[in-house]
Symmetry: C3
Subunit: 209 residues, 3 copies
């Protein structure tokens, strides 16, 4: 990709990191955690998924150990986020879900793309995109002693799967990386926003025994 | 080992993967998870232990990223399993525990053997066998917000330890790999089945304070 | 460092391993776990943090797979610890917290130092020191189905941060490794002991919604 596109991508990733970190801050606040707990929940939400991905694909370095800016974004989000979350004047309710959907889209494509660059099959790459998108939130929920939201509610991970499949298939049929990225991100973003807007969810599987 | 033995071993491993995945499906059903949650619980149960093992011993590749068949087995089990679990006509009650004990035996020996092939000591190899056998189920239980069953109930992990020790010691005294595998698997399988049949358990350690 | 210092350091590390393992034994006892559960909780508390650190920094070997003595210390602690915990005559109450603070100090410096030796930035090294010190206890608490203590109560992880920052900065300004180690360990130890003695804690962040 061209330098400009690379740059937009990188800053979008940092933006997604901040949004995911902020969702960790909100959970920490509900559990009355201390400052360290806020940072930990922000960090696992924001970089937990990417860390697991990097370990499994055997990346040379876990991404945030090579580029400290991710940690700084988390730290600043954890500190500022505590005040922002308590402000009386609020943003419109849809801002945070939209930002989260955008973060989910970029995390998914970055994860899928990184796995492909390490030579995995398309199927494994899609799984890595999903892990990048949702595993951090799952660890956050486990630390907060909740059944991970993503396993029970609205379409969330499914949006990652759609985006990852769109991206991988687009590349496979020879579409340019930039267009494939657009398609993949749009797939994840639109399905996620639609799920929020119309409360779409997968049918629950229930064994009453 | 000869090609035929290798082949039997490989298909047994896939069978164990399906059985472990199905146990994840059952837990997901009790928690009313959606389709994605079913797949995640099936996957962590089936390949969680082997993944942790491969990361810790520093395997060149995590096994399921190199051979996509494991993911397909999990996906098919997660989809078919939801229907099988709801069928009115049931298999005899002992089929699933027997299949699970077989899966535990094969996972244990595969984990112990892989660790040894990476040059670990016998003790570390036994630990890796145990991790391969039980860690996936522990993650499943944590995601389901339960204290992992394996830490509290019936003899389960102890059967892995027995099998791993039998296998490692057999190799150490010069028994052929095939026979050592048989001994190790039988050790795990028989102790586990006996524990189910006669409700054997280790004494609980209780601090009432 | 000189051989004598190396040796003192190594045995201190094993002592910290035993103390952390014992804290796992106590939690297992409250949950009425069986013998295997006691060993697992002892092990994850004692070596869980160092394992995550070694995976993330990409150490050639996870430390306890290269030196089996750690596993033996855990095994012996898990077995003896069950009896010690039930003895009617008790040690003075402050012995265990002091030992734990010492273990925290040594784990923090070892983790920070190991990360630096793999070429990480100072900030990442401090994070690795914190992970080495507290991640094992967090896994223990998650397995015990509790919100990790370290996220909510008294100053604990903050003591790791202080020690890691002192150590890293000392090295950066040219202080000898031995003195930097002393400073770092003292920083962690004293802040932790002070937190216990005067019940110091960070303010909780609470969102009442």
């Amino acid at each position: 990709m061209q330098p400009l596109v690379e740059s937009v991508f990188y800053w979008s990733d940092l933006f997604g990191t901040a949004v995911f970190a902020f969702s960790g801050v909100l959970v920490a606040g509900r559990l009355r955690m201390d400052g360290f707990g806020v940072i930990v929940l922000a960090a696992v939400t924001a970089i937990g998924g990417g860390t697991i991905r990097d370990l499994i694909i055997g990346a040379e370095q876990v991404f945030w150990t090579a580029d400290t800016l991710y940690l700084w974004v988390i730290l600043v989000t954890a500190l500022l986020g505590q005040y922002i979350a308590q402000l009386p004047r609020r943003l419109p309710w849809y801002i945070l879900p939209l930002a989260d959907a955008f973060g989910l889209a970029i995390f998914t494509i970055i994860g899928t793309d990184k796995a492909l660059s390490y030579g995995t099959s398309g199927m494994v790459a899609v799984v890595m995109g999903v892990i990048t998108g949702v595993a951090g939130g799952m660890i956050r929920d486990v630390l907060a002693r909740e059944v991970p939201m993503v396993l029970q509610r609205e379409i969330y991970a499914t949006a990652c799967i759609l985006g990852g499949v769109l991206y991988t298939c687009s590349l496979a049929i020879g579409i340019t990386p930039l267009l494939a990225t657009m398609l993949g991100m749009l797939g994840t973003f639109i399905l996620r926003v639609a799920a929020i807007r119309w409360h779409l969810s997968l049918p629950a599987f229930s064994l009453n025994r």
